[in-house]
């Protein structure tokens, strides 16, 4: 880390110092990161290890519906699925949380009462992040008041890309203050950050500002989560804990559709951040369609025959 190592995070007060710190972070070796992620993706996970990985992945899913066409009925259906992903098999673990727009939080909280499944709400003018701070705070306040256990906020990519790190920092800190005890996930929208160096800077910026989780994407921009981007973020949380002692979670979101994809992410977590992160408390998968594929693979393992999508609920 060079000079940056000696900078204590508490001293990062001014805009200039923040900029100096973020620009002092070592650059990401693009080819190296992509090769490393591709290499780890070739690991073969079979039989009992696969069964373990599938159950772990199910328990890490943030079952997500973020459409303009979302209805209370759809959210209730999703909540039912979150609590009992496979109604025919009680041994399937419940998912970590469901993720909805802030106006549907109350509906989700009602539907999930007593199940132990969390309710995450996107807030702060998701997915663009283009709104005045007051509107973002009001959005967050409403979701927290309605009982959300996690807030997924988006950063102002325009400010970040134009170099106004202080504005992004203050916005995250303000939202965090609004959240109180509620967990704050900060969406970096890596598809718009262009370079891995920016992903590393944005990760550190979010963690310094108080994020409990850093999340890759909104799912509305392509590319969404990729393995190399997640690798860079996992390195960031690992290094951040080594520096400050505070552990931050990671959530790739969008583009994770198959069990194979999900298991690749788990391998990446284990090999990069370490086994400490291999729990729903510290790692989440933001997705919806992957759940059915996980369930189909799970049933293949339990029954011995290939499963078909006709036998699982549509979201």
């Amino acid at each position: 880390m060079g000079d940056a190592v000696s900078v204590s995070t508490e001293t990062l007060t001014g805009a200039a110092e923040l900029r100096r710190f973020l620009h002092g972070l070592p650059g990401v070796d693009q080819v190296g990161a992509e090769e490393r992620a591709a290499r780890l993706a070739t690991r073969s996970i079979k039989t009992s290890a696969k069964a373990y990985a599938i159950d772990l992945a199910i328990s890490m899913v943030d079952l997500t519906t973020l459409e303009g066409a979302d209805t209370p009925g759809k959210v209730r259906a999703l909540c039912a699925k979150a609590a009992h992903p496979d109604p025919a098999d009680a041994s399937v673990p419940k998912v970590a949380a469901i993720c909805v727009y802030s106006d549907l939080v109350a509906e989700a909280v009602r539907a999930l009462e007593g199940t132990g499944v969390g309710v995450a709400s996107v807030a702060t003018a998701f997915p663009s992040g283009r709104a005045p701070l007051e509107a973002k705070l009001a959005d967050t306040r409403r979701a927290v008041a309605d009982g959300a256990s996690e807030i997924d906020m988006v950063i102002d990519r325009g400010a970040f890309l134009s170099g106004d790190f202080q504005k992004v920092f203050e916005e995250i800190a303000a939202i965090k203050a609004e959240c109180g005890e509620v967990h704050l996930k900060v969406i970096l929208e890596t598809g718009e950050l262009v370079t891995y160096d920016n992903v590393r800077r944005a990760s550190w910026l979010a963690m310094l500002a108080g994020a409990d989780f850093i999340k890759t994407s909104t799912g509305k921009v392509s590319p969404a989560a990729t393995l190399p981007v997640t690798l860079v973020m996992l390195e960031a949380v690992r290094d951040f804990r080594a520096r400050t002692g505070r552990q931050v979670g990671v959530k790739p979101a969008g583009g994770i559709r198959t069990t194979k994809d999900a298991i690749k992410y788990l391998v990446l977590v284990n090999e990069t951040a370490g086994p400490d992160w291999l729990s729903p408390e510290w790692f989440r998968l933001g997705a919806s369609s992957v759940l059915n594929d996980l369930l189909m693979q799970r049933r293949k393992l339990t029954t011995g025959v290939y499963a078909g999508p006709d036998y699982f609920t549509l979201d």
Binding site: G304, V305, Y306, A307, G308, P309, D310, Y311
Partner: protein
């Protein structure tokens, strides 16, 4: 100057419009009628079955949504391509032990069979569909719809038998995963090359080569397969497959004379098409 080395073809699988090797990396030796080496064919595994079913399922809605007329045109196009490869198929059949004239006759019969089924594309609904009289002011129609994804265990007749099980399954809008003859798989893969250069969408027909006893049970038990043609399976294998197919109520075609050789030159009738059809009945008020 050294003698020129012949460039021989690698026979691979045909899945989703592409020609991949088996994911297992295995192959097996195919011999000619005299026991001489002919080629190495891919020996598909259960995971190739799985991939093929995924490809077939993906292609199914689009294939079924085409107009019957368009499906018929595409099948005619396949017949045209078959005709163009007549010589190649004749050579491959001769290697299985047929005389030159017998091989030529079989190739011609296969092309004619394909054309015959192609003609049914926009005619079968008129034969199997009905306008039903009902006791109320309604029009009531029954129309045939494809069953979905059909698994086929192909018979050993390397070309005529092959097209006779394949064409009727797809002409109605089903997509297929076919396990080719174990002893004579090469014409099936050459047929795949014909299909790939016709206008047939990738995934409508998927062809696997390898051990029947290894592949058929996975196809039979697969929950995302809707129909099963056991023409090429016999004895215990056929029984095992039929039992497995019952789990999700697959339509099963198991010829009564399964353990005797079928005369593929005989008139086929429409049973092979109608087995893999579902009937949809709609009510429509009269005079509105």
């Amino acid at each position: 100057m050294s003698e020129r080395l012949n460039v021989s073809k690698t026979y691979k699988l045909y899945i989703g419009g592409a020609f991949p090797r088996s994911e297992s990396g295995r192959s097996y030796t195919v011999n000619d009628a005299k026991g001489g080496f002919l080629a190495n064919a891919s020996r598909a595994s259960r995971k190739d079955v799985r991939d093929a079913v995924v490809a077939a399922r993906k292609a199914q809605p689009g294939w079924a949504a085409r107009t019957p007329y368009n499906r018929g045109q595409i099948l005619y196009r396949v017949a045209e391509m078959l005709q163009g490869r007549c010589g190649q198929f004749t050579d491959e059949l001769r290697a299985t032990g047929l005389s030159k004239s017998a091989a030529t006759t079989e190739v011609e019969a296969a092309i004619d069979r394909w054309v015959w089924y192609a003609g049914w594309a926009d005619k079968l609904a008129q034969v199997t569909g009905t306008a039903n009289p009902v006791s109320g002011p309604f029009f009531n129609f029954s129309t045939p719809e494809p069953t979905g994804v059909v698994g086929i265990v192909a018979p050993d007749s390397p070309l005529l038998g092959l097209v006779s099980v394949l064409a009727p399954a797809i002409v109605t809008g089903n997509t297929t995963v076919l396990v080719a003859s174990e002893t004579a798989p090469l014409p099936a893969i050459t047929l795949g090359e014909v299909l790939a250069t016709s206008d047939l969408p990738g995934g409508v027909i998927n062809i696997l080569t390898g051990r029947r006893s290894e592949l058929a049970p996975w196809l039979a038990s697969h929950m995302d397969v809707n129909g099963l043609d056991l023409t090429g399976a016999s004895g215990d294998l056929a029984v095992e497959c039929e039992k497995a197919a019952a789990e999700n109520l697959k339509r099963v075609l198991r010829p009564v004379e399964a353990d005797q050789p079928t005369d593929w030159t005989a008139h086929p009738g429409i049973t092979r098409m109608t087995t893999f059809l579902e009937t949809k009945t709609v009510w429509h008020p009269v005079g509105v």
